[in-house]
Symmetry: C2
Subunit: 213 residues, 2 copies
DNA sequence: AAGTTGTTAACTGTCGACAGTTGGCAGAAT
DNA sequence: ATTCTGCCAACTGTCGACAGTTAACAACTT
């Protein structure tokens, strides 16, 4: 809830700053967060920082231990499987909704992102930003704000996993191809096929993350 | 994250107390939450109360407005549809997982809850507690802790909707019947059928909630 | 009378200080 | 050498007070 709107006030800003610190791996996996130290470093009081920490914890980016504070979670293989079960549940449903509700403009947008991905790939780059852009375009087509919000939270936790494994996004042809198959299924308004393609896509991404680490 | 474990400390306890106040409708829909007043009423300081408020907000049980504090959300029909899209996404996936992973013990447990529901129904009662127990048993069978957690959060928001509409749970034969069909599909390890049954079940519950209010 | 502006009270946002708990470390006993 | 015990430092949990903002009300203008 209200992830973008509450950039008001010190607590809201601190959420953004701390999120970046965690996602970039500047605060490594397993590392504890010292309240007084970080508060001084950010030039703020402990109050807003605590609220920011609790917020990030509710997103799964931090883990709270009573009287021991917060630390960045360290995910084992079991945790990765659990996270991708959640992401798959949400994003397959989003693919279904997108297939049912997409407009021609949505399709155009998704094709644009896919084309940009291919163009970037030929130059040897396939930035994670473009991958997120594609999934974001799909979420827009699904027109389900709550599902979209939860998908973004799950994706964020995957980003954290990549940071923990010190992985820059692997440049994969397979992902772009699967995106295009997804576009096709959504274009045909074939919800079942879209969900199935999404499921296999995410399974492959998960396995690649597991084997690479 | 950590919804059950952080009952330590005043903030954790306050989360539980405040959650009850919201879910029972003691704090009505649309009503604002006064920090100083509620803090005095609970005999605590504003710090822990603020953290509790932020926590409930992250669960969707409260809405934060910059410099205006928190209030219980008022859901219109659009909001109800959006919420049930999320719940359906999660719980259909849970049904799929349950069909794939259920043990005989899981089946037995679900049948027990269903039998208890029927017994209660003959006496004119069908407590919401038993409905939650059934869905809880299904979640256990799914063996996906993150999905289960999100399902419970979504269910909780539905409870809030019922409280807002001052609805006691309607005694519905249809729900119990649908539960049994779900058990059958899960027993047959038919994931597609389980998901389909769950989807129609939730659609019916949603429509009933919309028409009754 | 309607609209506008100045004022004010109530509330949230933030801070610094104090209290309580935890885990580690040093030292004694076996 | 090892284990147990008592201390201690560092940290989190909590509190009360101050600062900043908002929305409503009153007075004034047109």
């Amino acid at each position: 809830m209200s992830v973008d709107l509450v950039h008001t006030g010190l607590a809201g800003q601190t959420v953004a700053v701390l999120r970046e610190l965690v996602l970039t791996g500047e605060i490594a996996a397993g590392e504890r967060v010292n309240e007084v130290g970080l508060a001084q470093r950010l030039g703020i009081s402990r109050g807003p920082l605590r609220e920011a920490i609790r917020h990030l914890a509710s997103e799964g980016l931090l883990v709270l231990t009573p009287n021991r504070g917060a630390h960045v979670p360290v995910a084992d293989n079991t945790g990765v499987h659990a996270l991708f079960e959640l992401r798959s549940a949400l994003e397959c449903a989003a693919a279904r909704l997108a297939a049912a509700r997409r407009t021609d403009a949505d399709l155009t947008r998704m094709r644009e992102v896919s084309a940009a991905s291919r163009a970037a790939f030929t130059t040897g780059e396939f930035p994670y930003r473009l991958d997120l852009a594609f999934h974001g375009a799909l979420l827009e087509a699904a027109r389900s704000p709550l599902v979209a919000e939860q998908v973004r939270l799950a994706q964020q936790r995957v980003v954290l996993l990549r940071a923990a494994k010190e992985l820059t996004f692997s440049h994969e042809q397979a992902s772009i191809d699967e995106h295009d198959v997804l576009i096709e299924a959504i274009g045909d308004q074939d919800a079942d096929r879209a969900a199935a393609v999404m499921a296999t896509h995410l399974d492959r991404v998960r396995d690649q993350l597991l084997t690479t680490g």
